[in-house]
Subunit: 338 residues, 4 copies
C-alpha cells in the first residue's frame, strides 16, 4: 500500500485526494495546507486522513512513500526538492516549476535520489488525447503539418501567473506528446487588460523541425468557452473538442492528399463543408485524473518511468518561459536551446 | 438608369450580374471575360446583355456609366485605372490591388477624375457586421480590448495569391470598420505546405493604438469550416459566427467590469460556462452583395462617398502586404507607415 | 429534346423552371399561371419561354411532351387528368392529390393512356435520404424498430391545407421509401391555434406490420426550426438532421444488440452520451430537385417507372387523409385498407 | 437539527446522502439497504453514519425526524406509510407510487398524521425550470398553446417499470407545474422491443382545458441523447434544452401575435430560421437536488407545504397510469377523473 501526502488543499487538492482514495494500492495519509479552513471539510469527509498546516509532518513520517505537490507554482521547486531529499516519490502539479532552471533542478534531484518524479499533465491521461496519439502513431494522419488550439473562457483570472502559465500547459503538453518532439522556436503576442503585468490574452506559436507548426490561443476574457484543437495531416485531420459531450474526437478522411487525388472541383467544395467521411470513435469513459493517479502508483510500485516525467515537465516549462519572454519583447522569436 | 459593365465572369462575376440585374436604377449592359466559355451561360441567361472578350468594347461605350472589376487581383490596377480614365465609376473586387502602391494609384486617379471608387468588401454590407458596428458605436461593448477571428476551410486553394490575400480581406475590412482605426503594427506567421511560396496557413496579429489587438487565423487546410469572430469589450462581448443559421450574432452581458462588480466567485465560474444574459438580435434577411450593389448605385447617383471607399481599400491592402512580408521574414513586426 | 410546360409559378414553380432549364435533354417551353405578376419575372429571366395565363395553350401544343403540375393541391386532379388525356407525361407536385380517390383516378388515367406519372417527392432524390436507404437495404441497421421525425418551424402557415398536408408528405414519403411497406394503421393528434379548422400542430403515428412504428411531429408554430429524423434498428441507428451543414447523416454503431453484447454497465452509460463509434458519411453535393428533374426526363425517354410513381403518391395521400381524419376524431386509430 | 434516514442506497441514494450532508440544519443518521455491498462505500465515506440492512432500525429511532424513500417504486407505498405512521416526515422519490390508489393512500396518511409529505420531483427545483415558470407566471409567453418534450437516450433500460414510468415523471411534473393545471385526457402509443411487456419507446399526449396540449416522447433506444422541451405561447416561445452547457433556456421573441403584427412575409421566413430576438437568461449555478433537500428541511422546520407535495405527486401518477393504460389499449383516450 503506497501512502501519500498531498500538499495543497486549494482547487485541485480535493480532486487529488478523492482520486487517490479510490486508487487501488494507494492511501492518502496526509493533507497539508497553510489554511486550516481548507483542511476542515477534507477532515470531515475523510476521517482516516491526517490534516496538518505543517507539511514537514508528512515529510518526516517514514510511512509516507510519496508526496503530491499541489501548491502555487512558485513553491514547486522548494517543496519538490525537499520531498525528494526526504526520500519520497513526487508528483508535481503542472507546470513543473516557475523557471526552466528550477524545473531542471527538481529533475536532477529526482535522478540523484532515484525516486519517481511525475508531472501532473492530466490531459496526457485523457482518453481523447491518447486516442489522437494512437491515430498519429499508426500513421493515420500521414505527415503532420500543423496543430491549432484554442483554450479560452471567462473570468478565471489568476493573480500570480499569466494566462500562458495557467492555460497553455495543457496544450503544450498535448502537442509535445503527439508530435514526439520539441519546438525549435517559440513566439507569442498578447496583452494584460485587467491586471498590470499579468497577461490575460495570448497567441503563442511553436515552430518544430521541418515546417511543422503549432499555434495556441489562450484567454481569460472570452465570452464563450472553447477547448478545441485541430491537427492537420497530409492524409487525415482531427478536431478534438473537449466541450463536445458525445463526439469529442472527429477524424476527417480529408487530408491534403485526398484533396488532390479525388479531383474534387472547386465549385463543389464551395457548396459543401467537407470532403470525405467523418468518424467519431468511441472513447473510454474515465476521469483522466483517475488514470493519472493509477499511473503514478504503478510507476512507484513497478519502478517505471512516468509518461509525464521530469523531461516532459521541463520541455513544457521551456515553452512557457520562452513564450512569456517573447510576449514581453514584442513577439520576438525565441530559440529553444538544447 | 446606371449602365454597368462587369469585367471578369469567374466565380464572383455571375453573382455581381445577378445582383445588379435586380438593383433598381441599374442595368448590366456588358460582361467581359477572356474565356468565352464563361460568357456563354450568362449570355443565355441574360439575353439583353452584351458579352465580349474585349473589355475595351465596354470602356469605349459612352452609355456605360460604371465598371465592375472582378478579375484576378494582379490586373486590378491596370483595369481600374483604365476604366477611371475612360470616365467610368469603378467598383473593384477586394482586395483593391496587389500592392499598396497600386492601390494608392487607383485611388489617386479616382480623385483626379472625380469618379466614385468603391471596393467590394462585401462583409461591410452584411447585416451581422453592421449590427456589431451598431453595438460598438453606441458604446454597448465599452472599451474594445481585442478581436479574434478564424476563417478556415478545406481545399479551396488559390494559385496566384496566398491564404492571407484570399481570406483575410474579409476579417481585416471588418476589424478596421468596427474599430474605426488603422493598426500601427502587423505581424504574421504561417507556412506553405502544398504549394511552394503560396502560404496556405497563417496567423496574423494587428496592433492598434492603446493595447487594442486583433488576431486573424486563416487556413485552406482545416477539416471543419469556421467563420467565427469574437469581440471583447470592457462592458460586453460579442461572438459573430457566420455559419450559425439562426443566431449569427450573440451579445454577452459579461464584460470585464461585470465580472468584477458581480463578485462572481471563482468556484461558481468553474462550474458554469458563462456569466450574464446572452442576447441574439434579429438580423435583416438580405444578401450582403445586394446591399453593396445598391450602395454603389446610390453613391454614383447621389455623389456620395462609399462606405468602402479607396481609403478603406488601401488600409486593407496595407495590412495584407505587411502580413505577408512579416510571414516571410519569420514573424518580424512590420510598422505601418502613414 | 423533351419539351415541358410548368403549370403554377408560385413558390416552387421558379425552382422547377430553373432546374429543368439545366437538365440535359429537356427544355421548358411554357410556364402558365393565372397571376400575370408571377409570370413577368420568369419571362424576363428566360426569354425563350412562352408565358401564358391559360394552361390550355400548353396542353394544346403538340410539341409539349410533358407537364409539371405545381399548383395548389385542390387542382391537381383536374389538371393532371387533363394533361394526361392530352397525351402528356405528368409530374405532379406532392401531395399527389387532395383525396385518396382523386390520387387513384390520376394514377388510373396514367395507366390507361400509358404515360409517365411521377410525384414530386423531392426528398426521395436527396443524397442524405438515399444514403439512409442504402444503409437499410444492405442490412446495416439490422431489423428496423421505429422511426421518429420532427419537421417544425415558425410561421409559414398555409391557408388551404393543414400542417399535415403541408409538411408531413416529406416524412411520410421518406418513411415508406425506407421501410418498403405501407402502414396498417394511422392516428394523429393536434390542434388549430391560429386559424379555424386549419391544424397548425400535429403528432402522427404510423403502425406497420411487426411492431414497426413511425412518429411524425409537424408544426408551423415552433420557435426553432427542426428537420430531424431518427431511425432505430437492432444493429445500428441513424440520425438524419437536414439542418446540419456538414454532418447530415450520422450512423451510430450502437444498436440494441451491441448494448447487450458489450455488457456496457448502466453506471458507465449514465456518465456517457453514447456507445459505439459514430460515422458521418460523405454525401454527394447536388440539389435534390435537379436529380428529380433528371429522373423524370429519363423515365420519359427510356420508358421507365419513376421511383416516386403513382403508387407511391397514393400511399402518401392515404396516410395524410387518415391522419387528418384521426386528428378530427380525437386521435382514433384509422385502419388503412388495401 | 433534522435527523434523516435514507432508505435505498442504489443509484440515487448516494446523491441524497451527499446533498443532505451539506444541507444546513440537516444530518443523515441512517442509510438502509438490503444489499450490504451498497452500504459499505457509504459507511467508509461518512463515518458518522449508521448503515443497516433493516430500515426498521431507523423508523424505531425516536431521534430520526424524517425518512427519505429511495427504493424501487413498487415498495414506496409500504415504506412511506410505515414511516409516516412511525411519526416521520417523508420524502419519496418520484414517482410517488406505482398506482394512483397507492399514491392517494400515502397522501391520506400524511394528512392524517400531520407530517410533511414531499415527492422528489427534482426538476421542479432546477433553475432552468423555475426560470421558465417565472416567464410563464409574469405573462411573458402570453397564452400557452402547447408543450413538446423529448427525453430519449440509449440503453438505460429498467427491468421493473416501462420507459414512461422511468423518464416521463420529469416531463409530466414540469408540465403540470408550468401550466398550473391537470390534463383532462391522456393517450399514448409505443412498443416494447427488447423486453416483453416493458415498453421502451412511447409517445404520450396530454390534453388540457381550452385546447392546450402537451406531447412527451420518451425512449431508451435513441442513439443521440435529447432533453429538449419547447413551450409555445401566443406572445413568446421558449426552448429549454437541458444538454446545452451554456444556453439551457432560450426565450424567442416570436410568438404568434408577433408573426401577424410584423407582417413578415412568407418569402422572408422561408429564407430565415427565426423572427425576433432570442434571449438566453443567466441561470443560477446550483445542483437542483441541493435545492430540493433544503426545501424539504425548511418545510419540516417551518411547517410549510412542499412545492412538490402529495397532490403534485398524485397528479403525476395519474398521468403515468393513464398513459400506460392507453398504450396497452392501442392508444385509446383515457379520461382523467377528478
Amino acid at each position: 500500500m503506497i501512502q501519500l501526502a498531498v500538499i495543497g488543499a486549494g482547487y485541485w487538492g480535493p480532486n487529488l485526494v478523492r482520486n487517490f482514495s479510490q486508487t487501488p494500492g494507494a492511501r492518502v495519509a496526509y493533507v497539508c495546507d497553510l489554511d486550516a479552513a481548507k483542511l476542515a471539510p477534507l477532515a470531515a469527509q475523510y476521517p482516516t486522513l491526517t490534516t496538518t498546516r505543517n507539511y514537514q509532518d508528512a515529510l518526516g513520517d517514514p510511512n509516507v512513500d510519496a508526496v503530491v505537490v499541489a501548491t502555487p507554482v512558485s513553491t514547486h521547486q522548494r517543496l519538490a526538492v525537499e520531498a525528494l531529499r526526504a526520500g519520497k516519490h513526487v508528483l508535481v502539479e503542472k507546470p513543473l516549476a516557475a523557471t526552466v532552471q528550477a524545473a531542471r533542478e527538481i529533475d536532477a534531484v529526482a535522478r540523484e535520489v532515484k525516486r519517481v518524479l511525475m508531472v501532473g499533465h492530466t490531459f496526457i491521461y485523457n482518453p481523447a488525447v491518447t486516442k489522437v496519439h494512437e491515430y498519429i502513431q499508426r500513421g493515420a494522419l500521414g505527415e503532420i503539418y500543423y496543430i491549432d488550439s484554442a483554450r479560452v473562457n471567462l473570468g478565471l483570472h489568476q493573480f500570480d501567473i499569466n494566462v500562458i502559465w495557467d492555460l497553455a500547459p495543457h496544450d503544450v503538453s498535448m502537442i509535445l506528446y503527439w508530435l514526439g518532439q520539441r519546438p525549435l522556436r517559440v513566439s507569442a503576442r498578447g496583452n494584460s487588460y485587467t491586471q498590470d503585468n499579468i497577461e490575460d490574452v495570448a497567441f503563442v506559436t511553436l515552430e518544430f523541425p521541418g515546417k511543422v507548426m503549432a499555434h495556441i490561443h489562450v484567454s481569460w476574457m472570452s465570452p464563450a468557452k472553447l477547448r478545441r484543437t485541430t491537427i492537420v495531416g497530409s492524409k487525415q485531420m482531427i478536431v478534438y473538442d473537449d466541450l463536445e459531450a458525445a463526439e469529442k474526437v472527429k477524424l476527417y478522411d480529408s487530408g491534403v492528399e485526398q484533396l488532390a487525388l479525388n479531383a474534387t472541383t472547386r465549385a463543389e467544395l464551395q457548396r459543401t463543408y467537407r470532403v470525405g467521411d467523418v468518424l467519431s470513435p468511441r472513447l473510454d469513459v474515465v476521469e483522466p485524473l483517475r488514470v493519472e493517479c493509477k499511473h503514478f502508483v504503478e510507476c512507484i510500485v513497478e519502478g517505471k518511468t512516468p509518461r509525464t516525467n521530469g523531461d516532459a515537465g521541463i520541455a513544457v516549462v521551456q515553452v512557457l518561459e520562452a513564450a512569456t519572454r517573447s510576449l514581453r519583447e514584442g513577439g520576438r522569436t525565441i530559440e529553444i536551446g538544447s
